[in-house]
């Protein structure tokens, strides 16, 4: 029942948002529904962490540790992004356009909430496709030629990926002919030892290639920096923070199935594909000229880190992977809120055009620098802890080459991110042409920054026991 309420909230909000009821109704309903979704999915996650079952329809809609973690993250970022949208999107004059933004926003969140709840892979495919489709309008929202171009590239590449992954999911269904278990993630794990390795391997490769395009894994990542830089900032936070994670989650679900078969070295695939993504993204970060693209490439990097960590194998590395998922989602969404606040202040995306941001706008400057430090992985913030635990578990597992490369790439990305942001925040501010008054930031933006920063700081020094338990259960979900 709980799960149905979580799904119903954004649907109702989407319906209300699409009605012409005044400019305030759509953002307010969206925010209300998002807060509701956070509370209810938080409670569901607590129930799961306590070891109880949360079932909607057995065999179709269920929640396990890994699912609960992703669900919670989608709900939280969905809420902060809704709050950030309030002031950010309000610049849009056309209220019809605004209503369409909010109804698409809610449908987008709905589809993302559905993915971790569904346990039947074919329906998971459908839900992932829906996330892509509902995202298209949001990417094109600014309606500039660049935004439309980004939306086009985003939709063509990721829908193509979906069409390829479709065959993978159908092939995966073939596994149910090898024994008597339902076509669910857990059922497939129990079936795996009996299934011929050709079925599992071809299904995995098709899904890896197809959904890899959606998750932004190299070499099919080219759409990602375009879409994640041209979309409105709250949408970027959703796309980078949780949309890519949700798709990667589906790929991660395949790992225990292939590992359970015992004949396929799927971990090597994960490490190789993951490391290539981290490496390419780290060097692309060095040469960006647009600060939203900077964070977008950092997303590609982090998807690679998570996949590599999942491939390292062992309880510690799996814990590191899910820990990284948690920290990346929270931190990356904050980064895009900071980038959005910067956009509101300076009205440019070019790194070279921004100097001394901390003087022109202390709030935007501080937020951007904090976001950069946090996502680059500086201690004592959350991302540092998870990256460190991944490196440590890899060394313990004697994956020296992979860990050496991973550490080197992370360091390159670290310096790349901080080099660019350092140039933007410090230095002499360029005199503002004319005597334009400093831009007044919307209250909702500042509020979002505070709310989104809190968990990043807190998780750096304190891990609440139920969350730790949830992460452990999620890590177990990757093993099996």
């Amino acid at each position: 029942m709980t799960l149905f309420v979580i799904l119903a909230l954004p649907l109702v909000a989407a319906l209300v948002s699409s009605l012409p009821l005044g400019r305030r109704v759509a953002p307010a309903t969206t925010l209300l529904a998002a807060v509701g979704a956070v509370l209810i999915s938080g409670r569901a996650a607590l129930t799961v962490a306590a070891g109880a079952q949360v079932v909607g329809v057995a065999g179709w809609i269920e929640l396990d540790g890994l699912g609960a973690l992703i669900l919670l993250l989608v709900a939280v970022v969905g809420m902060t992004a809704a709050l950030f949208s309030w002031g950010y999107v309000a610049r849009e004059k056309d209220s019809r356009h605004l209503r369409r933004y909010y109804s698409n926003y809610n449908l987008f969140v709905f589809a993302m909430l559905a993915v971790p709840m569904l346990v039947e892979p074919a329906l998971v495919w459908t839900a992932v496709e829906l996330t892509t489709i509902f995202g298209i309008y949001l990417v094109a929202f600014d309606n500039t030629p660049e935004a439309v171009e980004a939306a086009w590239k985003y939709s063509i590449l990721t829908i193509m990926g979906g069409a390829m992954a479709l065959l993978g999911f159908i092939v995966l269904f073939r596994a149910t002919r090898f024994g008597d278990a339902p076509f669910t993630w857990r059922g497939l794990v129990t079936l795996a030892p009996k299934v011929s390795s050709g079925v599992l391997e071809s299904a995995f490769l098709l899904i890896l290639v197809g959904f890899g395009a959606k998750a932004g894994l190299v070499p099919l990542h080219t759409w990602l920096p375009d879409a994640h830089s041209q979309a409105p900032s709250p949408v970027c936070a959703l796309l980078s923070g949780v949309k890519t994670t949700v798709v990667l989650y589906v790929i991660l679900r395949m790992l225990p199935i292939l590992n359970a078969s015992g004949r396929i070295d799927v971990d090597r695939w994960a490490i190789v594909v993951g490391l290539i993504s981290v490496g390419i993204a780290a060097f692309l970060i060095l040469q960006v000229t647009d600060y939203k693209r900077l964070f977008a490439f950092s997303t590609v990097e982090h998807m690679g880190i998570i996949l590599t960590a999942a491939g390292l194998g062992g309880a510690a590395a799996h814990y590191g992977a899910v820990y990284q998922i948690l920290n990346h989602s929270l931190t990356k969404s904050f980064c895009f809120f900071a980038a959005g606040t910067t956009m509101l202040t300076v009205d440019t995306r070019q790194i070279a055009d921004v100097r001394g941001l901390i003087r022109t706008s202390p709030v935007a400057g501080t937020a951007l620098l904090f976001g950069g430090i946090a996502i680059a992985g500086a201690p004592p913030l959350a991302v540092f802890l998870s990256e460190f635990s991944i490196l440590r578990s890899g060394i313990a597992g004697q994956h020296y080459v992979a860990i050496g490369l991973l550490a080197a790439f992370i360091v390159v990305a670290f310096f790349g991110i901080l080099h660019h942001l350092n140039r933007m925040t410090f230095g002499q501010a360029e005199p503002v042409p004319g005597d334009a008054a400093p831009v007044k930031l919307p209250l909702s933006s500042v509020l979002t920054l505070i709310i989104a920063a809190a968990p990043i700081v807190i998780l750096g020094v304190y891990m609440p026991p139920p969350l730790h338990r949830l992460l452990q259960m999620a890590a177990e979900g990757l093993a099996r």
Binding site: A140, E146, I159, L166, L167, I170, F173, S196, V288
Partner: protein
Amino acid sequence: MDTLMPVLASLNGLAAGVFLLSAFGLLATRQMQGCVRFFRLQSLALVASIFLIAIGMRVPDLIAVALLDFTIKPLLIPWLLRRYVREELFRRREIDQVLNIPSSLLVALALTITAYFLAVILPPAAGSMGNINVPVGLAGLLLGAFTLAVRREAVPQLIGIFAIENGSLFAGIAIAPRLPLVAEMAFPFDMLIIALVIGILTRITQERVGTTEVGALRSLREGGAE
């Protein structure tokens, strides 16, 4: 029933032939209309194959799937495209292509042969009559991806995506004919929503950028060419 099997199998072979031929047609045609027509033909071949497998392997669910596919792919999707993409697009006869047509066809031939080799990796069809579906579906998938890569116009690119999906289903229907009905029903609806959304996006692209030659969209590049 057993006497019927060879007939059904050869009819399915015919459907597979038409399917592959229309995948080539998608690549070879120079006209926007022709693209849509070949997509229709390919979808009809897919529907025929689903229907034949439904009878041959006694999976009644698949008949419903075939009916749904029949309404959505050859009928509703072309109608939607006509509705949302402006008429003048369809009147433009020539489509730009990155590679000229003879070379494209040569590559397509190579891809089809590759598909036959790759099909060995995929699990074999559930019944003997669907054997031909696996390599042909895979070839459809690869040719669709290739069409997508060489076409520079919005609508043919979209149809390239649909061709990939058709290929996936053509192979998939033989590999796993007993997929849950809910899932089978979701696939064509998904394509319908894609057609709707991308159709609107094409319209917006034309309004904002002034062309639907999406191959010419290259303002977003590394190095900040904006």
